[in-house]
Structure formats: structure tokens, C-alpha cells
Amino acid sequence: MNYRVLYFASLRDRAGMDAEQVNSLAVDARALYSELCARHGFTMSEDRLRVAINGEFAAWEQHLHDGDEVVFIPPVSGG
């Protein structure tokens, strides 16, 4: 499966990129994040992040589909 992953804030700094196409066997966001942690050395734990799929908040267990846009949302700090 191919996923489009976007990075923001500290995850963007750590990954060194805004976005990438990821070819992965991961079927949900949890498995995908674990794979990306290994690839980019993310240290932020899952319980501090939220997941968005195709522009909407989603559950970590939501089944991913080919072409999905997946974003791991670090703690927000607007305002």
C-alpha cells in the first residue's frame, strides 16, 4: 500500500521533510507510526499524538486504504 504521510512541528524537524510517500504493509496508523519511528527516530510516544486520516481525526486502529493521507498530530500549541 502507498500512503501519503505529512509531518508537522517536531516530527517535521526530526524527519527532515514536510511529507513523503510511504510504501508499507501497515494496515493501520499504529503499525505505520511504529514503522516510521524506526525509519526517522521519532521518540514521541503514541499517547501524546493524535491521528488524522484524509483530513479528519481518526482512531489509531482505523483501517488504512491505498492512497490515504495520514498525519500524526503532535500536541497542538496555537493561540
Binding site: 512541528a9 517536531s10 517535521r12 526530526r14 481525526f57 503532535p74 500549541s77 493561540g79
Partner: protein, 147 residues
């Protein structure tokens, strides 16, 4: 209405958009970029947003405010990009028949925006470092941050 803006916003013009013949009160909030946080001198801020989700979540918050409080209109604009000290970073405005609901709704919108909307603040410090902040304005731990 909620929107992100890459250019400076004009609060007076935004407030006029809230005008309504039934309105007896208008409450606005402006969040400004200040020169210190957590004891460190700040030179400027950089805001990043995940725009599609930020817009969706921002619109939801404004809709919630209209359901929860007896108001006529509510609007919020949040800046993205690089902001200098003193610049307006976020603006919230509410019009209502009476001031109580207007104050309450304005407070609700800014509090929820800070909690829920995917926008991130990067502080650039006078000592050359920079860091992403958490909702409570404490820095992201050193392990998560590129120094």
C-alpha cells in the same frame, strides 16, 4: 467562520463583519506575540498548521459556540507563518444580544482553538535556539526536539 491567514489581519474590519441589528454586545479577543516565554527572550514565532483539518476543527468550534451560547455570530482568524513581537496571532469576535453570552462564547472559542486545532507554535529564542511548544506553553522535551 474560522480561517487561517498567511497575511496580517485587520481586527476592525473583522469586527464589522459581526454587525447585526439585534446585537447589543460585541466581544473580541486578540492574541499577540510576546517577547518572553517561560523566562526566555523570544525574538519571533513561527506558526505551522495542517490546514484542511485546522479549518474543519475551527469551523466545528465556532458551530459549537453558536449552539451552546445565545449569540448572533462568531468568527476566528489564526495567523500562520512567521510573526514578529507584537503582531496579532489570533483573533476571535462574537456578537450577541447581551454581553454575558458574548463573553462566554469568546472564551469558549479561544480555549477550544488552543486545545484542539492543529496549529503549532515554534519559538525562536534570542540565544539562537528554537523550540516547539505544548498547549501549556512548556517546551517539547529535548528528546523530541531538534536543537
Amino acid at each position: 467562520m474560522f480561517r487561517l491567514s498567511e497575511t496580517p489581519v485587520a481586527p476592525a474590519a473583522l469586527a464589522r463583519e459581526l454587525a447585526h441589528t439585534s446585537a447589543g454586545a460585541c466581544v473580541t479577543f486578540e492574541g499577540w506575540v510576546r517577547d518572553r516565554n517561560d523566562g526566555r527572550a523570544v525574538l519571533r514565532l513561527g506558526y505551522q498548521a495542517y490546514a484542511p483539518l485546522a479549518n474543519n476543527e475551527g469551523q466545528r468550534i465556532v458551530a459549537e459556540a453558536r449552539e451552546k451560547f445565545a449569540i448572533l455570530d462568531a468568527r476566528c482568524v489564526h495567523r500562520v507563518g512567521t510573526l514578529e513581537i507584537g503582531e496579532l496571532a489570533v483573533w476571535v469576535g462574537v456578537s450577541a444580544a447581551h454581553r454575558g453570552a458574548a463573553f462566554d462564547a469568546c472564551r469558549y472559542v479561544i480555549d477550544e482553538v488552543k486545545k484542539r486545532v492543529p496549529i503549532w507554535k515554534n519559538e525562536h529564542y534570542a540565544d539562537g535556539e528554537s523550540g516547539w511548544l505544548h498547549p501549556d506553553n512548556t517546551p517539547v522535551s529535548a528528546g523530541d526536539r531538534l536543537v
